[in-house]
Symmetry: none
Subunit: 198 residues, 4 copies
């Protein structure tokens, strides 16, 4: 029970922390944060609950650490975005990159989306909200007409929805992703045009 010499355990040495994160995210995304117990995570890893506490101070900290590790690219994207001129080209580039970032950390973002009520009063709740806010600040032109502001926002949510919700549409996921991106880009373009952008 639990090979000691077959290399399985050997290879695992030292990366327990990451393995905890992996399994936790998997379960959080699958069942939700509240419904995933530390017992469950521990069992799936074949360690004790106490072991989790060696690596993380609390259940919440596990989630925080996952969040921080996985959303760095978006943090970077926003930082990059702030320094660019707020042209249509920049906005479209951001939308493009944002779509990629979402796709790359899909389980985390699906989790965030489906557990908003829970996440809201966790430490990452505010953090996440601020991040989305800053993203919007870059894309949404505050001087645009209200309709166009909605269009910008809708573009972002189209990406979100496209990633985790439109699952039963179209056969080829690649093709679907392209379609989603196209609609989002289009919304941005319309909004920009409406605002009288160059």
């Amino acid at each position: 029970m639990g090979g000691t010499m077959d290399g399985t355990r050997q290879r695992r040495r030292g990366d327990t922390r990451r393995r905890i994160q992996d399994v936790a995210l998997e379960l959080f995304a699958e069942q939700g944060y509240e419904k995933t117990s530390l017992r469950e995570i521990a069992e799936r890893l074949e360690v004790t609950k106490a072991a989790l506490y060696y690596h993380f101070k609390t259940k919440e900290e596990i989630l925080v650490s996952i969040f921080e590790d996985l959303t760095q690219p978006i943090e970077d994207l926003i930082e990059w975005g702030r320094l660019q001129p707020h042209t249509l080209a920049t906005k479209q580039e951001i939308v493009r990159r944002y779509a990629t970032a979402l796709a790359e950390a899909e389980p985390l973002f699906r989790f965030m989306h489906e557990n908003q009520a829970t996440v809201r009063d966790l430490r990452i709740g505010e953090s996440f909200k601020r991040r989305i806010q800053r993203l919007r600040d870059i894309i949404v032109d505050p001087d645009a007409a209200l309709v166009d502001q909605v269009r910008y926002t809708s573009a972002i949510f189209t990406l979100h929805a496209g990633m985790f919700l439109i699952q039963d549409m179209g056969d080829d996921p690649e093709e679907k992703n392209r379609a989603v991106l196209e609609v989002a880009m289009d919304l941005v373009a319309q909004a920009h045009r409406g605002a009288g952008g160059s």
Copy 2:
């Protein structure tokens, strides 16, 4: 404890069931389903937990009953929509009405949105999914290009997002609602045009 002769209790007679639903929805929407305990609901109503069980068999049943009572308009809307010709006019009328229906049961829909992970394995999860599915079946033209299918879907999600997510935008909520509706209508129109509609 809790006036006996001042009419408070008197007026409450017989409407406990509804009062439970009201308080429950309020708390579910505010804190999420899992984080709302029956103790909390009972305390706020100044009754015992056991009283809740007189009116509902389980915690889940409370939610189910709320859901069933509040989503009847949407059920009706879908039924009506199925019988209409699938023209642009019909689709736009449905979008318009759907926006109204959402606004009228806003707390419930915000709850559904923010507690997807939880709701998914409750009895209403499937129910809700099927309903959304049927709504989409009416609006989305299966013969349209993939981009246009995404546009139709995006229109629906724009309504959802508009209702509960875009809270900090614009000053007048009425005005904001109109803007959201306009974008959704526009998306439907574009999709329809793309599909070669009249």
Copy 3:
């Protein structure tokens, strides 16, 4: 829902008390006393729990009433037995009649047998114990050798066991009952002979 004019309800008028006893005994025997709730009894009768309380002061009282109504024959038997001479013939007659009495109130006695732990601290517990005691006092000869006392006792328990436990033996229940009775009679005879009875 619940015919008012079809005679069903009509005929039931007034015998609710007996119907409660019937259903209660049925469920007590089937599931045990503790595991049978008043809700269950009420539901099966299509009345409310409160209705049970109109007819009986407590759950225990329902059982007591059943017990008292159904064990009268045994009470009579014992009374009769005390007045007879303690001959072999008397003892055998008692065994015979006891077997019949058991068979006639089988569900109650199976219940008593299978719920001894529970029944022990109910009001009928002592009552039942005393009754069995008095029965034994008539049958068991206190001057007999210990082995023979055990034989007398064993005769009684053979009847009990025969009634509810030996269910999977023999095909014809009638035939089985005769065999059980024969063994019991035999044990009494042996005991009597050992004691040097006439």
Copy 4:
């Protein structure tokens, strides 16, 4: 609360599981399964209810574990019995050993006897029934006359009854046990003779 340095706690280290079983059996036998709450068990052990759940998954599991630990001798006895020739000598040896086994785990068997209704739909119910069944298969000769089959069975129940029910008879328990055994042996002998044994 509960000596820390006086050795009491020290000595307890590691044997909590067994202590739970001991106290549980004691209470189950005394009050019945349903009427014994985990709170009661925990209190008597001066631990929390949660501690019980560290050692056993459910209340039922506590009972199951007791049952399995204590009935091994009987399991062994049956296994041994199956391999012997079905002679009178074997049967009598089994009866003798069974009497001993019963005496040694008396609280458990009294519990099983007095809580049949409850035990029936617990996991051990079937288990127990099968065990008794197999014991009977060894002792009872299926070709014997019905009366003799009843005699064999009666022998087993005489042992049971003798152990827990005939408490107020005779002064010396040792002597009583011998008498009970003698009657059981006698019943087996009679049955065997009737069946045309040597």
